[in-house]
């Protein structure tokens, strides 16, 4: 089954497909492409399962158009879980999602912090300044957090900036690095290996275990990047 923008009002239960991922996890797919609708379904199911937890569910991994549900296999099987989930799926249209938060993230776009800025510009026949302008002009949605704690998958990148990831990932990308890959963009919360092309860096911590909201970003947030100078970067870093 395929759904697209033409079927914006598809009830979640009609397009949901449930499939075992392992002996202790189940994937709920809402279609097989990234659409705002399928992502709305993911957020609603996540919210409903957080508001009305199911005994035996141990973890939830949301993504673009799917939700992975990990369960205690000594208590539940896929059939049990499916029987529990269908009534949840039938109620998704009634789930109220909070207004998206607007978050601004200061970024110093530069060759020093964005090792791939020049190459990305060349690939698209632009100047680095044009790349920065395009990237900072767009508003992005947080589709989900994944990969490592606090890593937000943001989309959609303006079509003119869509760029394949590096053929060989870097062994270490500095914390705070802003990258792009395909039609996605995101900030590395920690120094990790990574294959996204780097355009700049933010001095703001994306994940702080001692902060009440540990992750700066949450699923559903709307994000803009605000270009800052090296001096502003240094000042914010110290603050």
């Amino acid at each position: 089954m395929r759904y697209d923008f033409a079927s914006m009002l598809t009830p979640a239960a009609d397009c949901a497909r449930l499939q075992p991922a392992s002996d202790q996890s189940l994937l709920v797919y809402f279609g097989q492409q990234i659409t705002l609708e399928s992502h709305q379904h993911v957020m609603r199911l996540l919210r409903l399962l957080e508001l009305k937890p199911v005994e035996g569910i141990r973890n939830l991994h949301p993504a673009y158009c799917s939700l992975l549900i990990k369960f205690d296999a000594l208590k539940l099987g896929h059939d049990d879980l499916e029987a529990i989930l269908w009534p949840y799926l039938d109620r998704l249209e009634d789930v109220h999602l909070p207004e998206p938060r607007q978050v601004e993230i200061p970024v110093c776009y530069s060759r020093e912090y964005g090792a791939d800025l020049n190459e990305v510009a060349v690939m698209h026949g632009m100047t680095p300044a044009q790349v920065i302008e395009l990237h900072a002009a767009a508003a992005y949605e947080v589709y989900f957090l994944g990969f490592v704690p606090g890593f937000a998958y943001l989309g959609e990148l303006p079509a003119a900036l869509v760029t394949p990831r590096l053929a060989t990932p870097r062994r270490r990308v500095p914390a705070g690095s802003l990258g792009i890959a395909g039609s996605q963009t995101g900030v590395y919360p920690f120094a990790t290996p990574g294959g996204w092309r780097l355009l700049g860096r933010t001095p703001i911590p994306m994940f702080r275990p001692n902060r009440e909201a540990m992750s700066l970003l949450s699923i559903g947030d709307r994000v803009r990047f605000m270009p800052i100078t090296q001096e502003q970067f240094s000042a914010l870093e110290k603050a």
Partner: protein
Amino acid sequence: MTQIQVQAPGLLTTVQDLGREGFGPLGVSASGAADPIALRLGNRLVGNADGTAGLEMTLLGGTFLFPQDAVVALAGSDFRATLDGAPVELWTSVKVSAGQTLRLGHTHSGARCYLCVHGGIAVEAFLGSASTHILSGLGGFEGRALRKGDVLNIGSATGLFQKRKLAQWAREALAPHKVLRVTPGAQADWFPESSQQVFYSGRYRVAEESNRMGLRLEGTPIPLASGGEMITEGVSLGAIQVPDGGLPIILFVEQQTTGGYPKIANVVAADLAGVGQLRPRDEIRFELVGLDEAWRLLREQEELLASKELILG
């Protein structure tokens, strides 16, 4: 307060308990002991609850000075431990007197050995767990592997020593094996029959660059899936993903929470603890089982762990 002084950390020694489930929406994976069965049993031997934090050592163990009396047990693989030079038996509670030094060497069996202490290793919990998540530097002792000179606190303990030992039959029944049982992965049907053939008939070798995030395998590359374009989705513990190049990766305890590669199979829950004992260069192969068989294996394992004759005391 009772303490442990780290005189040598070993290759990679971290504080671990049974992990933190429930924070997937933050991108936080469960982490926790790579061989949770060994940690649970080690804890029982010293009179702790199953989920108490202990030290997970990898391939080469550390050297630890105990300034006060303590009760400890070593569980998992045989790292040829000595206490002030005298051999220490694995899977047995041991009384340590103030001033004694516990020294562990290289592994003589699997990848990991757990040091459990009566009272547990006391660290500040992060998201409800003492487990270290190395990549993000969160949890455990300062979010990192132990270093020489670190001083660890031991949780409050009643201090009464009781001789406890894991029954021989249980050691054999729980010994990790090199054939991993798997169920089909989320994209199993993307892989044509010929690819499945390669995967299930081949032997794979655990690569050097394997770690708690994932085990990279070397062997015959699996011809790639042709099901379409993969959209990043949540990934489960033990998922076997096949990236470009066709060499599979088993996602492990410190896994990324989402991934964009097709998954051909998934290690069954009952065999995950065994994955934690795989060493670089170990040869493994995969055996396909159904979900019912996977659950039967898990129930059987838990029944064994609940057996009254498991620990002799």
